[in-house]
Symmetry: C2
Subunit: 114 residues, 2 copies
């Protein structure tokens, strides 16, 4: 809950992944494996300053505010997003380390044609 394992994994290809490694990364992928959450991360990452207010995010979807809040919680719990309250608003920002952890999985993956 508190500190999901970040920056953990060797690439998918090469040597086989250990069960422990798999258990560590799978939650990150699971958190990203949803169209809405994928767009949320993308929207936040593409926003000025790398952060976005929930109110702006709500407007980008045809979903209830409760649902967006839920998806943000999932991303936050997975360690993919940072959360900061500023006055009435709450801002979410992408955690580069978390994305890097996932990216490392596919790092050389694309570079091994056969």
């Amino acid at each position: 809950m508190s500190e999901p394992g970040l920056a953990c994994c060797t690439p998918l290809t090469g040597t086989p992944m250990s069960p422990e490694q798999a258990e560590q990364v799978a939650p990150l992928l699971k958190a990203l494996a949803d169209p809405v959450r994928l767009r949320l991360v993308s929207l936040i990452a593409a926003s000025a300053g790398g952060e976005a207010c929930v109110c702006d995010l709500n407007d980008a979807f045809d979903l209830t505010q409760a649902t967006i809040s839920h998806h943000l919680k999932v991303l936050h719990s997975a360690g993919l997003l940072d959360r900061e309250k500023r006055g009435v608003w709450v801002y979410y920002a992408v955690r580069p380390a978390a994305l890097s952890a996932v990216a490392s999985l596919f790092d050389t993956a694309a570079l091994t044609p056969a």
Copy 2:
């Protein structure tokens, strides 16, 4: 079903992802978002020739043959694995294009600290 969209996406960061793009990649991530399937892909990719027989994969897990078969089907349906029957055995191989499609998502993601 037949041809899941591969090699589709711009990186997560940069410009926000379109709903259509998100709907395309999410299934790939969802297929990978499981410890068992993650290890399956890793095992296959790390095998000689980039392919592995189901019989060998079964031995690597404390799971029923039916369960492994199910996971392989999920990965195959997502377009991540190729399937080839040779005699009594079935060999699965990683589709580099599919992994590349996912990798492209995180390509520059790790390179944007803030």
